[in-house]
Amino acid sequence: MKVIYTDSLIIGGGLAGLRVAIAAKQRGYESIILSLIPAKRSHSAAAQGGMQASLGACVKGDGDDEDVHFGDTVKGSDWGCDQDVARMFVNTAPKAIRQFAAWGVPWSRVQGGDREVIINGQKVTITEKHEAQGLITARDFGGTKKWRTCFTSDGTGHTMLYAMDNKAIQMEIPVHERKEAIALIHEDGVCHGAVVRDLITGKLIAYVAKATTIATGGYGRLYAVSTNAVISEGIGTAIALETGIATLGNMEAVQFHPTAIVPVGILTTEGCRGDGGLLLDKDGYRFMPDYEPDKKELASRDVVSRRMTEHMRKGKGVSSRYGDHLWLDITLLGRKHIEKNLREVKEICEYFLGIDPVKEYIPVRPTQHYSMGGVRTKATGESPTLKGLFSAGEAACWDMHGFNRLGGNSVAETVVAGMIVGEYVADHCAANGLNVSTHTIQYFLKKEEKKITDLLVRDYGENPFELKAAMQKIMMDKVGIFRNGEDLAQAVEELKVLNQRARNIALRNRISSSNPELVEAIRVPKMIKLAQCVAYGAMLRTESRGAHAREDYPERNDRDWLKRTLTTWKDDAADLPEVSYENLDVMRMELAPGSRGYGVDNTVHHPDTEKREAQIDQIKKDNPGADRHEMQELLNPLTIPEKFKGKNERIGRGYK
């Protein structure tokens, strides 16, 4: 029995995992990161467009602050988010980006003076302030009131991930590469680490830790076409589910990005539209202003994706052998801008489509992109039900995104959550010892060993690749952008059958060491369970909110559905998860539910909404002298680690 002990075990070597490890190590706790791949190859690298932080240095960001960012994030979430967490996030994002600047990210900077930009299809000259020269600049993104998305060209995720991994290397944090956590070790409601398979030797190792953090990213690969990396299969989320104790939150909240290329689904950044790119139909007509007169191409992603789908359903899509698509036109931005600020997009167009986006339109259509759901955590990042289990980044339902994430808020979440959750992980390590019996460790190791042996000796059974393809097709066809009760019920039934079949997988390549088919056989049953959580949660949620759009229940129903879906899988023999709900308390919201300012407003209101609005007005009236920081404390008092409590400075404004 091979056992490795550490204080803090982090599963996943992307931005969130690395940042948690750094925080724990800074506080003196040994951290080990497990990663399927070298950390610098994590999916975080694929975030092209940027990171939202309300620095307000560029002229179009003038007047921006935490409050504006907060409002955008809550509206973006369609009031589905946890407002305490959204608040922690917006207040800490400027600190995260500034720390990152010191750690080496070459953020694009403000150049004082005139420059030409494209706004609403027109060339416009804007004048950057000379006093802001050399501060971090920002670009426009969807669903935001200000230009707030900080960037390095369109390689933001890459530069962030490199700086973060380099920091971890400097701090001598070990990354155990090509290791896959396949089960959590837990006893009496406490998590003690994970059973880990070495993907080269096939050996099982127990990693035992005081705190275990899941930072394995999203579950986009439940869908046949996704912008996500091929490793974004949700396995970290699934092993939390398989404890039967940890809960998953809002698994049905799945985002579709408007502009992935057709057919392969590789992303072209929202920065294309943020920088002035347009969406055109088969007639070369710019249709978004007809649907969204205010935000046009830059409404939130859920809204733009739905409008595009609506427009294609009217017969306005461009037909191709891969089905209908629309055009993304960035030709109006000009060669110089594209080669400097959208060069990854240009490379992708050249290599995968054989076109030059400086001269030609890009074929795009909405494609699965982001998982708002994940391991449900408290604001501290810890599971409310399984002590010692933490989660951060896309893998978590920390819940700052609710039912729709804004562009630029995901890489921002990874580093901000990494900072905050990392502190709580360190607190946990300080307060707890390693109390786990070797019997428990052995029990979990043996259990996983037996599953693998069963796979290796079974002579006849199911092909894991076929099961996965069948699952991905169900999710594409029946749990997509627009959903309805009938399709969802069918998806739930069909996935149940796949779940049964997945208990009987047999291999053609029966060796225990490095074996891609065995990897698949271990993952596919877990992925099917996650798919069931998504489909079942979507079937039960009879309203439309953010990215969850029901054709048979088109209204956002605050009265009955202002709640978070919680999913558990208590009995491994069951063929469906158990679903329950937790209410979002309107009376504690800093921003009472209202209109997003884009999309269709057809809300069925919650009885508390008016009460809370009146209460907020009263608090404002009662405290006429309160500045915005004091007002926030009155409306939404925050618990946050002391080191993140400082006010953020802005150019021309100081700490106000």
């Binding site: 190859r41 720390q99 070459p106 694009s108 290397i169 990354v175 392969v264 052998r321 995968f352 060796i511």
Partner: protein
């Protein structure tokens, strides 16, 4: 494009060092070409439908993560963004990248190599103040052009193609190589890194460093990100010559 789909012939290097008695060999697989097919799509097709033991590495499949470097018809390149239509003969020979530890078939351990490289060149900002930065305050300003220039050198994805294309590396196993030089050039350019030229000299001022380069420039020829290796190696050399 004709409607008749081509049959592609893949000749693939097969060897699993962990399987007792396994011998390195080339195996041929036939795949029906589909429109827009990349080597990523073709290899997955082979794994799913012909040989589930075939090992290879892909992560982003979009040409940005650097996982899938391999030798494609004699050239080190990123397999995920290589379209099969590029090869008029329809014959594609795939070998693992040389210069790295072989895991199996087309999979090599670039991660171990790159981590060691990062440790060797101390691939981070050297500034004791970086850890104590007051992040409530305005960030340090930076010349916008310098920021852009740093990004140009930071676009490396550590795919390892430069290592595989490097003749000096073949002769000197400890040669730092282009990926390491590019990283050093990136930090040497960065005003936030307080290292002196003398400190950089300690890292690269010998024959395993920048003076060992034979200037054959396979790195420049095969870099999938078109990084300016030639210019940067020349720049580092001039800089290092001036130190002593």
């Amino acid at each position: 494009m004709s409607d008749q789909a081509r049959i592609l012939k893949f000749q693939i290097f097969r060897y699993n060092p962990l399987k007792q008695g396994d011998k390195p060999r080339m195996v041929t697989y036939e795949v029906t070409e589909a429109p827009g097919m990349t080597i990523f799509i073709a290899l997955n097709d082979i794994r799913e439908n012909q040989d589930p033991s075939l090992q290879f590495d892909f992560v982003c499949r979009a040409g940005i993560c650097g996982s899938c470097g391999m030798v494609v018809n004699g050239r080190p390149d990123l397999a995920c963004r290589t379209l099969t239509s590029k090869f008029p003969e329809g014959e594609i020979k795939l070998l693992p990248l040389p210069g790295f530890e072989l895991i199996g078939d087309l999979s090599v351990n670039t991660g171990k190599f790159m981590r060691a490289m990062s440790e060797r060149v101390e691939s981070w900002i050297h500034d004791i103040k970086a850890d104590e930065v007051n992040y409530d305050r305005l960030e340090e300003r930076m010349d916008p052009e310098v920021a852009d220039q740093i990004y140009e050198l930071e676009r490396c994805v550590e795919c390892g193609c430069c290592i595989s294309a490097c003749a000096t590396k073949r002769m000197r196993p400890d040669f730092l190589s282009a990926v390491g030089f590019m990283r050093l050039a990136r930090y040497a350019l960065d005003p936030r890194d307080k290292r002196t030229d003398e400190e950089f000299y300690e890292i690269m001022g010998d024959d395993d460093g920048v003076f060992g380069c034979m200037t054959l420039l396979g790195c420049e020829d095969y870099c999938p990100k078109d990084l300016p290796h030639q210019t940067q190696i020349a720049y580092l050399r001039r800089k290092m010559v001036q130190v002593r």
